[in-house]
Amino acid sequence: MLTILFDGVAYGMLLFVLAIGLCVTLGLMNFINLAHGAFAMAGGYLTIVMMNRYGISFYWGLPAAFVFSAILGAVLERTLYVHLYTKSHLDQVLFSIGLVFMATAVVDYFMGANQQTINLPPALEGRVNFLGASIGVYRIFTIVLCGLLTIGLQFVLAKTRFGSRLRAAVDDGRVARGMGIDVTKIFALTFAVGSGLAGLGGALSTGIISMDPTFPLKYMIYFLIVISVGGTTTITGPFFASLLLGVADVAGKYYAPAVGGFIIYTIMVAVLILRPQGLFTKASR
Protein backbone atom coordinates (compact mmCIF):
# COMPACT_ATOMS: atom_id res chain seq x y z
CA MET A 1 0.00 0.00 0.00
CA LEU A 2 2.67 2.45 1.08
CA THR A 3 4.87 1.15 -1.71
CA ILE A 4 2.22 2.00 -4.25
CA LEU A 5 1.74 5.44 -2.77
CA PHE A 6 5.46 6.02 -2.88
CA ASP A 7 5.80 4.79 -6.44
CA GLY A 8 2.85 6.94 -7.39
CA VAL A 9 4.38 10.03 -5.85
CA ALA A 10 7.69 9.38 -7.63
CA TYR A 11 5.87 8.92 -10.89
CA GLY A 12 3.83 12.05 -10.28
CA MET A 13 6.93 14.11 -9.54
CA LEU A 14 8.43 12.84 -12.75
CA LEU A 15 5.32 13.82 -14.68
CA PHE A 16 5.50 17.25 -13.14
CA VAL A 17 9.08 17.82 -14.29
CA LEU A 18 8.12 16.52 -17.72
CA ALA A 19 5.03 18.67 -18.08
CA ILE A 20 5.84 21.92 -16.30
CA GLY A 21 7.52 23.49 -19.33
CA LEU A 22 4.40 22.87 -21.36
CA CYS A 23 2.18 24.41 -18.71
CA VAL A 24 4.20 27.61 -18.58
CA THR A 25 4.57 28.02 -22.34
CA LEU A 26 0.88 27.35 -22.83
CA GLY A 27 -0.05 29.91 -20.20
CA LEU A 28 2.45 32.42 -21.54
CA MET A 29 1.86 32.31 -25.26
CA ASN A 30 -1.42 30.40 -25.48
CA PHE A 31 0.51 28.07 -27.72
CA ILE A 32 -0.51 24.42 -27.96
CA ASN A 33 2.71 22.46 -28.27
CA LEU A 34 1.88 18.78 -28.58
CA ALA A 35 5.53 18.07 -29.41
CA HIS A 36 6.64 18.72 -25.83
CA GLY A 37 7.19 15.01 -25.28
CA ALA A 38 9.69 14.96 -28.14
CA PHE A 39 12.08 17.07 -26.05
CA ALA A 40 11.71 14.63 -23.19
CA MET A 41 12.45 11.81 -25.59
CA ALA A 42 15.56 13.61 -26.83
CA GLY A 43 16.88 13.86 -23.27
CA GLY A 44 16.05 10.25 -22.53
CA TYR A 45 17.77 8.90 -25.60
CA LEU A 46 20.81 11.10 -25.08
CA THR A 47 21.26 9.54 -21.65
CA ILE A 48 20.77 6.05 -23.06
CA VAL A 49 23.35 6.63 -25.80
CA MET A 50 25.83 8.19 -23.39
CA MET A 51 25.54 5.33 -20.93
CA ASN A 52 25.15 2.32 -23.18
CA ARG A 53 27.49 3.29 -26.02
CA TYR A 54 30.12 5.40 -24.32
CA GLY A 55 29.90 4.17 -20.75
CA ILE A 56 29.47 7.64 -19.28
CA SER A 57 28.01 7.80 -15.78
CA PHE A 58 24.29 8.27 -15.23
CA TYR A 59 24.99 11.34 -13.11
CA TRP A 60 26.51 13.09 -16.11
CA GLY A 61 23.63 11.96 -18.26
CA LEU A 62 21.09 13.99 -16.31
CA PRO A 63 22.63 17.47 -16.72
CA ALA A 64 23.64 16.61 -20.28
CA ALA A 65 20.02 15.74 -21.07
CA PHE A 66 18.90 19.05 -19.60
CA VAL A 67 21.41 21.10 -21.60
CA PHE A 68 20.85 19.19 -24.81
CA SER A 69 17.06 19.49 -24.72
CA ALA A 70 17.25 23.12 -23.67
CA ILE A 71 19.47 23.99 -26.64
CA LEU A 72 17.26 21.96 -28.93
CA GLY A 73 14.23 23.80 -27.58
CA ALA A 74 15.85 27.21 -27.96
CA VAL A 75 16.92 26.54 -31.54
CA LEU A 76 13.53 25.21 -32.61
CA GLU A 77 11.75 28.04 -30.83
CA ARG A 78 13.76 30.69 -32.63
CA THR A 79 13.62 29.03 -36.05
CA LEU A 80 10.22 27.34 -36.24
CA TYR A 81 7.88 27.97 -33.34
CA VAL A 82 8.25 31.73 -33.55
CA HIS A 83 6.27 31.72 -36.82
CA LEU A 84 3.30 30.04 -35.23
CA TYR A 85 2.34 32.23 -32.31
CA THR A 86 -0.05 34.26 -34.39
CA LYS A 87 -1.53 31.29 -36.20
CA SER A 88 -4.70 29.45 -35.25
CA HIS A 89 -4.78 26.71 -32.66
CA LEU A 90 -5.48 24.19 -35.40
CA ASP A 91 -2.27 25.15 -37.18
CA GLN A 92 -0.33 24.85 -33.94
CA VAL A 93 -1.76 21.42 -33.26
CA LEU A 94 -0.97 20.18 -36.75
CA PHE A 95 2.48 21.67 -36.74
CA SER A 96 3.42 20.10 -33.43
CA ILE A 97 1.93 16.74 -34.40
CA GLY A 98 4.06 16.94 -37.54
CA LEU A 99 7.11 17.53 -35.35
CA VAL A 100 6.16 14.53 -33.19
CA PHE A 101 5.87 12.32 -36.26
CA MET A 102 9.28 13.45 -37.50
CA ALA A 103 10.91 12.97 -34.10
CA THR A 104 9.39 9.51 -33.78
CA ALA A 105 10.66 8.47 -37.20
CA VAL A 106 14.13 9.92 -36.63
CA VAL A 107 14.55 8.11 -33.33
CA ASP A 108 13.18 4.96 -34.89
CA TYR A 109 15.74 5.26 -37.69
CA PHE A 110 18.76 5.77 -35.46
CA MET A 111 17.81 3.82 -32.36
CA GLY A 112 15.37 1.16 -33.52
CA ALA A 113 11.75 0.70 -32.51
CA ASN A 114 12.37 -1.56 -29.53
CA GLN A 115 12.26 -0.41 -25.94
CA GLN A 116 15.50 0.79 -24.44
CA THR A 117 16.50 0.69 -20.83
CA ILE A 118 19.61 1.57 -18.86
CA ASN A 119 21.50 -0.03 -16.05
CA LEU A 120 21.28 2.28 -13.08
CA PRO A 121 24.43 2.98 -11.10
CA PRO A 122 24.73 0.56 -8.16
CA ALA A 123 24.10 3.29 -5.59
CA LEU A 124 20.62 3.85 -6.98
CA GLU A 125 19.62 0.23 -7.24
CA GLY A 126 18.04 -1.97 -4.62
CA ARG A 127 15.30 -1.26 -2.17
CA VAL A 128 15.17 -0.03 1.41
CA ASN A 129 12.64 -0.63 4.12
CA PHE A 130 10.72 2.41 5.19
CA LEU A 131 7.88 2.14 7.71
CA GLY A 132 7.49 -1.50 6.79
CA ALA A 133 7.24 -0.85 3.07
CA SER A 134 9.86 -1.79 0.53
CA ILE A 135 10.79 1.22 -1.55
CA GLY A 136 13.16 1.45 -4.50
CA VAL A 137 16.17 3.70 -3.92
CA TYR A 138 15.76 5.14 -7.38
CA ARG A 139 12.22 6.24 -6.49
CA ILE A 140 13.59 8.14 -3.51
CA PHE A 141 16.27 9.67 -5.71
CA THR A 142 13.62 10.78 -8.19
CA ILE A 143 11.41 12.27 -5.49
CA VAL A 144 14.27 14.17 -3.88
CA LEU A 145 15.60 15.50 -7.18
CA CYS A 146 12.19 16.51 -8.50
CA GLY A 147 11.28 17.99 -5.14
CA LEU A 148 14.41 20.15 -5.16
CA LEU A 149 13.63 21.24 -8.71
CA THR A 150 10.09 22.16 -7.74
CA ILE A 151 11.26 24.21 -4.79
CA GLY A 152 13.84 25.88 -7.01
CA LEU A 153 11.26 26.71 -9.66
CA GLN A 154 8.84 28.04 -7.08
CA PHE A 155 11.63 30.20 -5.65
CA VAL A 156 12.57 31.59 -9.04
CA LEU A 157 8.96 32.34 -9.86
CA ALA A 158 8.07 33.89 -6.54
CA LYS A 159 11.21 35.69 -5.44
CA THR A 160 13.28 36.76 -8.42
CA ARG A 161 12.88 39.64 -10.81
CA PHE A 162 12.69 37.24 -13.74
CA GLY A 163 9.93 35.33 -11.96
CA SER A 164 7.79 38.39 -11.43
CA ARG A 165 8.27 39.42 -15.04
CA LEU A 166 7.26 35.96 -16.15
CA ARG A 167 4.16 36.02 -13.98
CA ALA A 168 3.25 39.43 -15.33
CA ALA A 169 3.65 38.16 -18.88
CA VAL A 170 1.46 35.14 -18.17
CA ASP A 171 -1.24 37.26 -16.54
CA ASP A 172 -1.48 39.76 -19.35
CA GLY A 173 1.10 39.69 -22.10
CA ARG A 174 0.00 42.92 -23.75
CA VAL A 175 0.13 45.00 -20.62
CA ALA A 176 3.44 43.42 -19.65
CA ARG A 177 4.81 44.41 -23.04
CA GLY A 178 3.50 47.90 -22.49
CA MET A 179 5.39 48.10 -19.21
CA GLY A 180 8.60 47.45 -21.06
CA ILE A 181 8.96 43.76 -20.31
CA ASP A 182 10.54 41.89 -23.19
CA VAL A 183 7.95 39.13 -23.41
CA THR A 184 9.51 37.57 -26.49
CA LYS A 185 12.83 37.13 -24.72
CA ILE A 186 11.18 35.78 -21.59
CA PHE A 187 9.22 33.35 -23.67
CA ALA A 188 12.29 32.09 -25.52
CA LEU A 189 14.10 31.56 -22.25
CA THR A 190 11.12 29.84 -20.64
CA PHE A 191 10.67 27.63 -23.64
CA ALA A 192 14.30 26.56 -23.49
CA VAL A 193 14.21 25.88 -19.75
CA GLY A 194 10.90 24.04 -20.10
CA SER A 195 12.33 21.87 -22.86
CA GLY A 196 15.43 21.28 -20.77
CA LEU A 197 13.33 20.18 -17.81
CA ALA A 198 11.41 17.86 -20.10
CA GLY A 199 14.74 16.43 -21.28
CA LEU A 200 15.83 15.94 -17.69
CA GLY A 201 12.51 14.26 -16.93
CA GLY A 202 13.02 12.03 -19.94
CA ALA A 203 16.47 11.07 -18.73
CA LEU A 204 15.11 10.33 -15.25
CA SER A 205 12.26 8.29 -16.64
CA THR A 206 14.65 5.91 -18.41
CA GLY A 207 15.12 4.37 -14.96
CA ILE A 208 11.40 3.95 -14.28
CA ILE A 209 9.64 3.64 -17.62
CA SER A 210 11.56 2.48 -20.63
CA MET A 211 12.06 4.65 -23.72
CA ASP A 212 10.74 3.89 -27.15
CA PRO A 213 9.98 6.06 -30.18
CA THR A 214 6.28 6.31 -29.34
CA PHE A 215 7.08 8.10 -26.08
CA PRO A 216 5.92 11.59 -27.19
CA LEU A 217 2.54 10.36 -28.35
CA LYS A 218 2.04 8.06 -25.38
CA TYR A 219 2.77 10.77 -22.84
CA MET A 220 1.14 13.63 -24.70
CA ILE A 221 -2.16 12.65 -23.16
CA TYR A 222 -0.64 12.64 -19.67
CA PHE A 223 0.74 16.13 -20.18
CA LEU A 224 -2.62 17.32 -21.39
CA ILE A 225 -4.29 15.83 -18.33
CA VAL A 226 -1.82 17.59 -16.04
CA ILE A 227 -2.57 20.87 -17.76
CA SER A 228 -6.32 20.44 -17.86
CA VAL A 229 -6.51 19.48 -14.21
CA GLY A 230 -3.84 21.81 -12.92
CA GLY A 231 -4.44 24.88 -15.03
CA THR A 232 -1.71 27.03 -16.51
CA THR A 233 -1.59 30.04 -14.24
CA THR A 234 0.43 28.61 -11.34
CA ILE A 235 2.97 25.87 -10.87
CA THR A 236 1.38 24.49 -7.72
CA GLY A 237 -1.71 23.53 -9.72
CA PRO A 238 0.17 21.33 -12.20
CA PHE A 239 2.25 20.01 -9.29
CA PHE A 240 -0.73 18.66 -7.38
CA ALA A 241 -2.34 17.51 -10.60
CA SER A 242 0.80 15.52 -11.46
CA LEU A 243 0.91 13.92 -8.03
CA LEU A 244 -2.77 12.99 -8.24
CA LEU A 245 -2.32 11.57 -11.70
CA GLY A 246 0.81 9.68 -10.75
CA VAL A 247 -0.77 8.05 -7.70
CA ALA A 248 -4.03 7.35 -9.51
CA ASP A 249 -2.21 5.81 -12.45
CA VAL A 250 0.07 3.56 -10.41
CA ALA A 251 -2.73 2.52 -8.06
CA GLY A 252 -5.09 1.97 -10.98
CA LYS A 253 -2.58 -0.22 -12.79
CA TYR A 254 -2.01 -2.19 -9.60
CA TYR A 255 -5.53 -2.65 -8.27
CA ALA A 256 -7.59 -2.60 -11.45
CA PRO A 257 -5.35 -3.10 -14.47
CA ALA A 258 -8.36 -3.61 -16.75
CA VAL A 259 -9.96 -0.25 -16.15
CA GLY A 260 -6.94 1.84 -15.12
CA GLY A 261 -6.61 3.95 -18.25
CA PHE A 262 -10.35 4.25 -18.42
CA ILE A 263 -10.62 5.93 -15.04
CA ILE A 264 -7.96 8.51 -15.82
CA TYR A 265 -9.50 9.57 -19.11
CA THR A 266 -12.91 9.76 -17.49
CA ILE A 267 -11.57 11.97 -14.73
CA MET A 268 -9.96 14.25 -17.30
CA VAL A 269 -13.18 14.66 -19.26
CA ALA A 270 -15.16 15.20 -16.06
CA VAL A 271 -12.76 17.89 -14.85
CA LEU A 272 -12.82 19.59 -18.22
CA ILE A 273 -16.59 19.72 -18.18
CA LEU A 274 -17.03 20.82 -14.58
CA ARG A 275 -14.07 23.19 -14.32
CA PRO A 276 -12.70 24.02 -17.77
CA GLN A 277 -10.18 26.40 -16.23
CA GLY A 278 -8.58 23.64 -14.16
CA LEU A 279 -9.13 22.17 -10.72
CA PHE A 280 -6.61 24.25 -8.84
CA THR A 281 -6.98 27.68 -10.36
CA LYS A 282 -8.60 30.28 -8.17
CA ALA A 283 -10.68 32.26 -10.62
CA SER A 284 -11.34 32.18 -14.31
CA ARG A 285 -10.22 35.12 -16.34
Binding site: L80, H89, A105, L224, S228, G261, Y265
Partner: protein
Protein backbone atom coordinates in the same frame (compact mmCIF):
# COMPACT_ATOMS: atom_id res chain seq x y z
CA UNK B 1 -17.76 39.93 -53.54
CA UNK B 2 -18.28 43.51 -52.40
CA UNK B 3 -21.75 44.74 -51.66
CA UNK B 4 -22.37 46.59 -54.92
CA UNK B 5 -26.14 46.48 -54.71
CA UNK B 6 -27.12 47.37 -51.18
CA UNK B 7 -30.67 48.00 -52.31
CA UNK B 8 -31.52 44.31 -52.59
CA UNK B 9 -29.83 42.65 -49.62
CA UNK B 10 -32.34 39.83 -49.24
CA UNK B 11 -32.22 38.81 -52.87
CA UNK B 12 -28.47 39.12 -52.72
CA UNK B 13 -28.18 36.59 -49.90
CA UNK B 14 -30.54 34.20 -51.65
CA UNK B 15 -28.72 34.60 -54.94
CA UNK B 16 -25.39 33.98 -53.26
CA UNK B 17 -26.66 30.80 -51.67
CA UNK B 18 -28.08 29.62 -54.97
CA UNK B 19 -24.98 30.45 -56.97
CA UNK B 20 -22.83 28.67 -54.41
CA UNK B 21 -25.04 25.59 -54.60
CA UNK B 22 -24.74 25.24 -58.37
CA UNK B 23 -22.69 22.28 -59.54
CA UNK B 24 -19.48 23.38 -61.28
CA UNK B 25 -17.77 21.68 -64.17
CA UNK B 26 -14.78 20.66 -62.05
CA UNK B 27 -17.06 18.98 -59.56
CA UNK B 28 -18.64 16.91 -62.33
CA UNK B 29 -15.14 16.13 -63.55
CA UNK B 30 -14.17 14.92 -60.09
CA UNK B 31 -17.01 12.43 -59.87
CA UNK B 32 -16.54 11.27 -63.46
CA UNK B 33 -12.89 10.62 -62.59
CA UNK B 34 -13.96 8.63 -59.53
CA UNK B 35 -16.16 6.46 -61.75
CA UNK B 36 -13.37 6.15 -64.32
CA UNK B 37 -11.04 4.78 -61.63
CA UNK B 38 -13.30 1.75 -61.40
CA UNK B 39 -12.59 0.85 -65.02
CA UNK B 40 -8.89 1.72 -64.88
CA UNK B 41 -8.09 -0.27 -61.75
CA UNK B 42 -10.87 -2.84 -61.95
CA UNK B 43 -8.85 -5.48 -63.80
CA UNK B 44 -10.44 -4.57 -67.13
CA UNK B 45 -7.22 -3.35 -68.73
CA UNK B 46 -4.48 -5.96 -68.94
CA UNK B 47 -1.29 -4.93 -67.21
CA UNK B 48 -2.86 -2.68 -64.58
CA UNK B 49 -3.31 -4.53 -61.29
CA UNK B 50 -6.58 -4.39 -59.37
CA UNK B 51 -6.45 -1.71 -56.75
CA UNK B 52 -10.12 -1.44 -55.94
CA UNK B 53 -9.74 -2.56 -52.32
CA UNK B 54 -7.26 0.24 -51.75
CA UNK B 55 -9.57 2.70 -53.48
CA UNK B 56 -12.47 1.60 -51.28
CA UNK B 57 -10.33 2.22 -48.24
CA UNK B 58 -9.48 5.67 -49.58
CA UNK B 59 -13.18 6.40 -49.94
CA UNK B 60 -13.80 5.43 -46.34
CA UNK B 61 -10.94 7.65 -45.16
CA UNK B 62 -12.16 10.48 -47.36
CA UNK B 63 -15.65 10.20 -45.92
CA UNK B 64 -14.21 10.41 -42.41
CA UNK B 65 -12.25 13.51 -43.41
CA UNK B 66 -15.42 14.94 -44.96
CA UNK B 67 -17.20 14.53 -41.63
CA UNK B 68 -14.38 16.42 -39.90
CA UNK B 69 -14.67 19.12 -42.55
CA UNK B 70 -18.30 19.71 -41.55
CA UNK B 71 -17.28 20.20 -37.94
CA UNK B 72 -13.96 21.96 -38.42
CA UNK B 73 -14.08 23.62 -41.82
CA UNK B 74 -17.60 24.96 -41.46
CA UNK B 75 -18.35 25.17 -37.73
CA UNK B 76 -14.78 25.76 -36.56
CA UNK B 77 -14.65 23.07 -33.86
CA UNK B 78 -11.15 21.65 -33.50
CA UNK B 79 -11.55 17.92 -32.92
CA UNK B 80 -9.04 15.17 -32.37
CA UNK B 81 -11.66 12.55 -31.65
CA UNK B 82 -13.62 11.93 -34.83
CA UNK B 83 -12.03 8.49 -34.93
CA UNK B 84 -14.24 7.54 -31.98
CA UNK B 85 -17.37 7.72 -34.12
CA UNK B 86 -15.59 6.07 -37.02
CA UNK B 87 -14.56 3.14 -34.84
CA UNK B 88 -17.96 2.96 -33.22
CA UNK B 89 -19.60 2.69 -36.63
CA UNK B 90 -17.09 0.05 -37.68
CA UNK B 91 -17.81 -2.06 -34.61
CA UNK B 92 -21.57 -1.68 -34.90
CA UNK B 93 -21.60 -2.73 -38.54
CA UNK B 94 -19.02 -5.43 -37.91
CA UNK B 95 -20.88 -6.94 -34.97
CA UNK B 96 -24.18 -6.90 -36.81
CA UNK B 97 -22.77 -8.60 -39.87
CA UNK B 98 -20.85 -11.13 -37.82
CA UNK B 99 -23.81 -12.12 -35.65
CA UNK B 100 -26.18 -12.14 -38.59
CA UNK B 101 -24.28 -15.08 -40.10
CA UNK B 102 -24.46 -13.55 -43.55
CA UNK B 103 -28.25 -13.69 -43.66
CA UNK B 104 -30.73 -10.92 -44.34
CA UNK B 105 -31.80 -8.83 -41.38
CA UNK B 106 -28.57 -8.36 -39.43
CA UNK B 107 -25.98 -8.88 -42.11
CA UNK B 108 -27.59 -6.63 -44.66
CA UNK B 109 -24.96 -3.97 -45.46
CA UNK B 110 -27.41 -1.10 -45.89
CA UNK B 111 -29.10 -1.82 -42.58
CA UNK B 112 -25.63 -2.03 -41.08
CA UNK B 113 -24.83 1.43 -42.41
CA UNK B 114 -28.04 2.84 -41.00
CA UNK B 115 -27.44 1.25 -37.61
CA UNK B 116 -23.86 2.54 -37.55
CA UNK B 117 -25.07 6.03 -38.46
CA UNK B 118 -27.74 5.89 -35.76
CA UNK B 119 -25.40 4.68 -33.00
CA UNK B 120 -22.56 7.03 -33.93
CA UNK B 121 -24.99 9.89 -34.34
CA UNK B 122 -26.42 9.20 -30.89
CA UNK B 123 -22.92 9.12 -29.42
CA UNK B 124 -22.16 12.36 -31.23
CA UNK B 125 -25.33 13.95 -29.90
CA UNK B 126 -24.52 12.99 -26.31
CA UNK B 127 -20.89 14.12 -26.49
CA UNK B 128 -21.68 17.29 -28.43
CA UNK B 129 -22.75 18.95 -25.19
CA UNK B 130 -19.22 18.48 -23.88
CA UNK B 131 -17.83 20.27 -26.90
CA UNK B 132 -20.03 23.33 -26.52
CA UNK B 133 -18.02 24.69 -23.63
CA UNK B 134 -14.54 25.95 -23.42
CA UNK B 135 -11.74 27.01 -25.69
CA UNK B 136 -10.02 25.25 -28.57
CA UNK B 137 -7.72 23.47 -26.15
CA UNK B 138 -10.58 22.20 -24.00
CA UNK B 139 -12.44 20.96 -27.05
CA UNK B 140 -9.32 19.28 -28.30
CA UNK B 141 -8.83 17.45 -25.04
CA UNK B 142 -12.47 16.55 -24.53
CA UNK B 143 -12.78 15.05 -28.01
CA UNK B 144 -9.47 13.27 -27.54
CA UNK B 145 -10.57 12.02 -24.12
CA UNK B 146 -13.84 10.65 -25.47
CA UNK B 147 -11.98 8.87 -28.26
CA UNK B 148 -9.49 7.39 -25.80
CA UNK B 149 -12.27 6.14 -23.52
CA UNK B 150 -14.00 4.44 -26.45
CA UNK B 151 -10.72 2.94 -27.67
CA UNK B 152 -10.05 1.62 -24.18
CA UNK B 153 -13.57 0.17 -24.07
CA UNK B 154 -13.11 -1.58 -27.40
CA UNK B 155 -9.85 -2.99 -26.14
CA UNK B 156 -11.22 -4.22 -22.82
CA UNK B 157 -14.58 -5.67 -23.82
CA UNK B 158 -13.05 -8.81 -25.21
CA UNK B 159 -16.26 -10.82 -25.12
CA UNK B 160 -17.91 -8.37 -27.50
CA UNK B 161 -15.17 -6.86 -29.63
CA UNK B 162 -12.50 -9.53 -29.61
CA UNK B 163 -10.11 -7.20 -27.79
CA UNK B 164 -6.82 -6.43 -29.44
CA UNK B 165 -7.37 -9.06 -32.13
CA UNK B 166 -10.48 -7.31 -33.40
CA UNK B 167 -13.48 -8.80 -35.12
CA UNK B 168 -12.74 -11.37 -37.76
CA UNK B 169 -15.03 -12.96 -40.31
CA UNK B 170 -17.41 -10.07 -40.81
CA UNK B 171 -19.53 -11.36 -43.68
CA UNK B 172 -22.18 -9.11 -45.16
CA UNK B 173 -25.08 -10.46 -47.18
CA UNK B 174 -25.38 -9.24 -50.79
CA UNK B 175 -26.34 -5.59 -51.24
CA UNK B 176 -30.13 -5.40 -51.77
CA UNK B 177 -29.91 -9.16 -52.03
CA UNK B 178 -28.33 -8.89 -55.48
CA UNK B 179 -24.67 -7.87 -55.43
CA UNK B 180 -22.31 -9.98 -53.36
CA UNK B 181 -18.97 -8.62 -52.13
CA UNK B 182 -16.30 -10.16 -54.36
CA UNK B 183 -12.64 -10.81 -53.66
CA UNK B 184 -11.38 -8.11 -56.02
CA UNK B 185 -13.48 -5.32 -54.57
CA UNK B 186 -15.64 -4.53 -57.58
CA UNK B 187 -18.78 -4.46 -55.47
CA UNK B 188 -16.96 -2.83 -52.58
CA UNK B 189 -15.77 0.09 -54.70
CA UNK B 190 -19.08 0.82 -56.39
CA UNK B 191 -20.90 0.44 -53.07
CA UNK B 192 -18.45 2.75 -51.28
CA UNK B 193 -18.57 5.30 -54.07
CA UNK B 194 -22.36 5.41 -54.06
CA UNK B 195 -22.47 5.78 -50.27
CA UNK B 196 -19.80 8.47 -50.45
CA UNK B 197 -21.74 10.35 -53.08
CA UNK B 198 -24.98 10.22 -51.11
CA UNK B 199 -23.25 11.49 -47.96
CA UNK B 200 -21.40 14.12 -49.96
CA UNK B 201 -24.55 15.30 -51.70
CA UNK B 202 -26.27 15.60 -48.32
CA UNK B 203 -23.36 17.53 -46.84
CA UNK B 204 -23.23 19.77 -49.87
CA UNK B 205 -26.91 20.61 -49.59
CA UNK B 206 -26.42 21.38 -45.91
CA UNK B 207 -23.43 23.68 -46.20
CA UNK B 208 -25.08 25.62 -49.01
CA UNK B 209 -28.28 26.12 -47.05
CA UNK B 210 -29.04 28.93 -44.64
CA UNK B 211 -28.11 26.45 -41.92
CA UNK B 212 -24.65 26.13 -43.41
CA UNK B 213 -24.38 29.90 -43.67
CA UNK B 214 -25.15 30.21 -39.96
CA UNK B 215 -22.40 27.69 -39.21
CA UNK B 216 -19.92 29.86 -41.06
CA UNK B 217 -21.13 32.82 -39.04
CA UNK B 218 -20.49 30.88 -35.82
CA UNK B 219 -17.04 29.95 -37.02
CA UNK B 220 -16.32 33.56 -37.85
CA UNK B 221 -17.45 34.91 -34.50
CA UNK B 222 -19.69 32.96 -32.16
CA UNK B 223 -20.50 36.00 -30.03
CA UNK B 224 -21.70 38.10 -32.95
CA UNK B 225 -23.55 35.15 -34.43
CA UNK B 226 -25.46 34.86 -31.19
CA UNK B 227 -26.11 38.58 -31.20
CA UNK B 228 -27.81 38.45 -34.61
CA UNK B 229 -30.04 35.65 -33.41
CA UNK B 230 -28.27 32.46 -34.46
CA UNK B 231 -28.97 29.71 -31.90
CA UNK B 232 -25.28 28.85 -31.61
CA UNK B 233 -25.48 25.86 -29.30
CA UNK B 234 -28.33 24.17 -31.15
CA UNK B 235 -26.52 24.59 -34.46
CA UNK B 236 -23.27 23.16 -33.09
CA UNK B 237 -25.08 20.19 -31.55
CA UNK B 238 -26.82 19.53 -34.85
CA UNK B 239 -23.70 19.64 -37.02
CA UNK B 240 -21.63 17.65 -34.53
CA UNK B 241 -24.29 14.94 -34.42
CA UNK B 242 -24.55 14.83 -38.19
CA UNK B 243 -20.78 14.64 -38.61
CA UNK B 244 -20.61 11.82 -36.06
CA UNK B 245 -23.25 9.90 -38.01
CA UNK B 246 -21.30 10.34 -41.24
CA UNK B 247 -18.10 9.25 -39.52
CA UNK B 248 -19.99 6.18 -38.32
CA UNK B 249 -21.04 5.42 -41.88
CA UNK B 250 -17.41 5.75 -42.99
CA UNK B 251 -16.34 3.29 -40.31
CA UNK B 252 -19.11 0.88 -41.25
CA UNK B 253 -17.98 1.05 -44.88
CA UNK B 254 -14.46 0.10 -43.91
CA UNK B 255 -15.63 -2.75 -41.68
CA UNK B 256 -17.91 -4.13 -44.38
CA UNK B 257 -15.43 -3.88 -47.24
CA UNK B 258 -12.41 -5.18 -45.32
CA UNK B 259 -14.63 -7.72 -43.49
CA UNK B 260 -13.08 -6.91 -40.15
CA UNK B 261 -13.06 -4.37 -37.34
CA UNK B 262 -10.09 -3.77 -35.07
CA UNK B 263 -9.00 -1.39 -32.28
CA UNK B 264 -6.80 0.17 -34.95
CA UNK B 265 -9.94 1.71 -36.46
CA UNK B 266 -10.72 3.59 -33.27
CA UNK B 267 -7.16 4.44 -32.20
CA UNK B 268 -5.80 7.96 -31.81
CA UNK B 269 -3.79 7.88 -35.01
CA UNK B 270 -7.01 7.37 -36.97
CA UNK B 271 -8.34 10.70 -35.74
CA UNK B 272 -5.00 12.38 -36.29
CA UNK B 273 -4.59 10.93 -39.78
CA UNK B 274 -8.07 12.05 -40.79
CA UNK B 275 -7.42 15.55 -39.52
CA UNK B 276 -4.13 15.64 -41.43
CA UNK B 277 -5.86 14.39 -44.55
CA UNK B 278 -8.43 17.15 -44.32
CA UNK B 279 -5.91 19.90 -43.73
CA UNK B 280 -3.65 18.49 -46.40
CA UNK B 281 -6.48 18.60 -48.92
CA UNK B 282 -7.91 21.86 -47.64
CA UNK B 283 -10.58 22.43 -45.00
CA UNK B 284 -13.83 24.16 -45.81
CA UNK B 285 -14.26 22.96 -49.39
CA UNK B 286 -15.87 19.51 -48.82
CA UNK B 287 -13.56 18.14 -51.51
CA UNK B 288 -10.49 18.69 -49.37
CA UNK B 289 -10.95 15.49 -47.41
CA UNK B 290 -11.52 13.42 -50.54
CA UNK B 291 -8.54 14.78 -52.44
CA UNK B 292 -6.45 14.64 -49.28
CA UNK B 293 -7.35 10.98 -48.75
CA UNK B 294 -6.23 10.08 -52.27
CA UNK B 295 -2.93 11.95 -51.94
CA UNK B 296 -2.35 10.62 -48.43
CA UNK B 297 -2.76 6.99 -49.39
CA UNK B 298 -0.79 7.33 -52.62
CA UNK B 299 1.98 9.04 -50.69
CA UNK B 300 1.85 6.33 -48.06
CA UNK B 301 2.14 3.70 -50.75
CA UNK B 302 4.97 5.33 -52.67
CA UNK B 303 7.06 6.38 -49.67
CA UNK B 304 6.16 3.21 -47.83
CA UNK B 305 7.68 1.22 -50.68
CA UNK B 306 10.98 3.10 -50.40
CA UNK B 307 11.36 3.34 -46.65
CA UNK B 308 8.83 1.04 -45.11
CA UNK B 309 8.40 2.45 -41.61
CA UNK B 310 9.84 5.92 -41.93
CA UNK B 311 7.10 7.39 -43.99
CA UNK B 312 5.87 9.04 -40.83
CA UNK B 313 8.86 11.32 -41.09
CA UNK B 314 7.85 12.57 -44.51
CA UNK B 315 4.27 12.92 -43.38
CA UNK B 316 5.45 15.05 -40.48
CA UNK B 317 7.65 17.12 -42.76
CA UNK B 318 4.83 17.73 -45.23
CA UNK B 319 2.61 18.77 -42.36
CA UNK B 320 5.14 21.21 -40.91
CA UNK B 321 5.80 22.77 -44.33
CA UNK B 322 2.09 22.94 -45.03
CA UNK B 323 1.38 24.85 -41.85
CA UNK B 324 4.31 27.19 -42.35
CA UNK B 325 3.91 28.04 -46.00
CA UNK B 326 0.57 27.00 -47.49
CA UNK B 327 -2.89 28.24 -46.60
CA UNK B 328 -5.89 26.07 -47.34
CA UNK B 329 -4.10 22.87 -48.33
CA UNK B 330 -3.88 21.50 -51.84
CA UNK B 331 -7.20 22.99 -52.91
CA UNK B 332 -6.23 26.38 -51.53
CA UNK B 333 -3.02 26.17 -53.50
CA UNK B 334 -4.82 25.27 -56.71
CA UNK B 335 -7.38 28.01 -56.15
CA UNK B 336 -4.57 30.52 -55.81
CA UNK B 337 -2.99 29.37 -59.06
CA UNK B 338 -6.32 29.37 -60.84
CA UNK B 339 -7.11 32.90 -59.72
CA UNK B 340 -3.71 34.11 -60.88
CA UNK B 341 -4.10 32.28 -64.19
CA UNK B 342 -7.48 33.78 -64.97
CA UNK B 343 -6.48 37.12 -63.44
CA UNK B 344 -9.50 36.93 -61.20
CA UNK B 345 -7.31 37.73 -58.24
CA UNK B 346 -9.56 40.20 -56.46
CA UNK B 347 -7.50 43.06 -55.11
CA UNK B 348 -9.42 44.61 -52.24
Amino acid sequence: MSMTQPTKPVNDAGARLLSGARWRWYEVLFWVAAIALFFVFGDFIPGIPTRLMLLSEIISLGLLALSIDLVLGYAGIVTLGQGAFFGLGAYVAGLMAKNGMGAFPLSDPLLGLLAAAAVSGAAGFVTSFLVLRGSDLTRLMVTLGVALILAELANQMRWLTGGADGLQGVMSSPILGIWDFDLWGHTAYVYSLVVLFVCFWLSRRIVHSTFGLSLKAIKGNALRARAIGVPVNARLVAIYTLAAAIAGIAGALLAQTTQSASPDMIAFHRSADALLILVFGGAGYLYGGLIGAVLFRVMQDVIGNITLQYWQFWLGLVLVLLVLFVRGGVIGLMEGWWNRLTRKGDAP
